[in-house]
């Protein structure tokens, strides 16, 4: 187990390194000069002149070769220093620390929404296989998954916030303001989770041991809880892990629409200003979230599934 964990954690570090390297060089080859972008974003067009450009380049070591800059960044990153944002002139870790809790709040709420909707929907659909409920749920899921999130967001704002005045339009001033962004974010997840849950249930329900359980004389409810759900849920956990990854990615878009002060907004601003340390910081946070969640999912999956043993201590 320890060996397995260490190996997996080293893999996470490897993934983070690859992601950050890729980001560094892709941002670098995108057209546009960093110093110009920073000046333009911060002080407007008038501030862009040779003198100011030179000062910015001097301040952030932009005159060095990209490889040297990159090496410097990696060296610092390993000591926990992720640099100073060009745009905000503050440490990247400080800015992210400020915004990350909001993103987590949004992501976790969206995740809870989607699980609360999708799991019961999938379970009931399977139990009512090919009956009315199943058809309705299929259509509902098809609708939620076919509409793009930004469009749903705008419709929700118009209907729920502007017309019905149930929730605030944007920001995070009141507790209710999380509902619309979280709902929008969760919609993309609901479809996949519902369909996977249904498929997994149906698969288990057709197994011989379910016939045996019926022949044993167990009641329907006991069969559902003890034998069907217990076997149908584990495959869903890995799906949920991947879905959380999508939530992190989706949050970038949704946060901007709803002016939610999370990492997503920071990320977009950083890209506009070619704010390299900030871009790297955001990418690392999202990649780390994704990798860490999937590690946790794998561990949970193995813990609840006796058929899986970690390689290394397999077969006694």
């Amino acid at each position: 187990m320890t060996k397995y964990l260490i190996r997996r954690i080293l893999m996470v570090v490897g993934v983070l390194w690859m992601v950050s390297t890729l980001t560094y060089f892709t941002v670098h080859v995108t057209p546009g000069d960093t110093a110009t972008a920073v000046l333009y974003e911060l002080y407007g067009e008038d501030a862009v002149n040779t003198e100011n450009l030179e000062r910015v380049r001097e301040k952030y070591d932009l005159n060095e070769s990209v490889f040297k800059q990159y090496a410097e960044w990696v060296k610092n990153a390993f000591t926990g220093n992720f640099g100073t944002s060009y745009r905000y002139n503050k440490p990247v870790s400080y800015m992210i620390g400020l915004r990350l809790p909001n993103t987590l709040k949004l992501g976790i709420t969206a995740f809870i929404f989607s699980v609360l909707i999708a799991i019961p929907l999938g379970v009931i659909s399977a139990l009512q296989h090919n009956k009315l409920f199943d058809h309705i749920s299929r259509i509902f899921v098809l609708i939620t998954s076919s509409f793009p999130a930004f469009w749903v967001a705008i419709v929700l704002i118009i209907v729920c916030a502007l017309k019905l005045k149930l929730f605030p339009v944007s920001g995070m001033d009141s507790p209710q303001s999380i509902v619309l962004p979280a709902l929008t974010l969760s919609l993309g997840m609901i479809a996949t989770t519902t369909r996977m849950m249904r498929a997994s249930m149906l698969d288990v329900m057709s197994q011989d041991y379910i016939w045996v359980a019926k022949a044993k004389g167990l009641t329907r409810n006991k069969i559902i809880v003890r034998h069907i759900l217990r076997n149908a849920i584990p495959p869903i956990i890995s799906v949920l892990g991947l879905q959380i990854g999508h939530i992190l990615g989706g949050a970038v878009v949704i946060e901007n629409i709803f002016s939610w002060p999370g990492v997503g907004g920071l990320f977009i601003d950083a890209i506009n200003a070619k704010d390299m340390p900030m871009i790297e910081g955001c990418v690392l946070v999202i990649a780390f979230g994704y990798a860490a969640i999937n590690l946790v999912v794998d561990i949970i999956y193995a813990a609840i599934n006796p058929e899986i043993r970690y390689s290394g201590e397999a077969k006694k």
Binding site: Q207, D208, Y209, W211, V212, A213, K214, A215, K216, G217, L218, T219, R220, R226, H227, R230, N231, P234, I304, N305, P306, E307
Partner: protein, 255 residues
Amino acid sequence: MLLEINNLCKDYSTGFLGNRKIHAVDDVSLCINEGEMFGLIGESGCGKSTLTKMILGLIKPTDGSIKYNGEEISNLGEKQWLPLRKEIQAVFQHPQMTFNPKKNLYYSCAEPLRLFDMCDKSSEEYLVREMTECVGISFDQLKKFPHEISGGQAQRISIARALSLNPRLLICDEPTSMLDVSVQAQILRLLMQANKEQNVAMLFISHDLEVVHAVCTRVAVMKEGKIIETGTVDEVFENPKEEYTKKLLNARIEI
């Protein structure tokens, strides 16, 4: 007469609009006496498993009657079936797949005992130990999960599980077809022993003629959902009336 089946039918609808009917079981009649070993022969897809599931009340027949001990059971609800579950038990074809993969074997064996209050907590372990040792499985094996044991062991445990409730009728749906020959013999011996000692009647479904010949006293031949020939094992094997039965028997000899 323990089990009496009359004119039993099961149709399935298929096709794009559900407008094509398939007669999985078509007008089947047979009867099994107390303590009798009754064989049912037929190739795959001839409706044997559908018949099994109807006898076990797991699917409802389209038409016809199933009488157990003189009482009609084909239209009983889940609750009314409950006392009968103890008396009619089943052993299925794929041994490992008849166990919940997330539970250890002990749980699967003890569950029917708990369900019918056959014992209290303290004697449960003793009973489970006794019944598995009867089929030659050591108690330690029960701590394992279904994927950790062999097919033969799993089948023996599933027989032990079925017999633990002292059933009067055991439905064996191809109990040996997934096992290799040496293990097959053990399983058959076990079933015959149960038949002798506990006087369990068996509906023994198989496509393996040798096995049916060895185990059963009477036999029925099923083809495309219909029973085409019935008789004692000797009658049917020595002197088959139907062309299909002859072909089955010849196929055996050619191999």
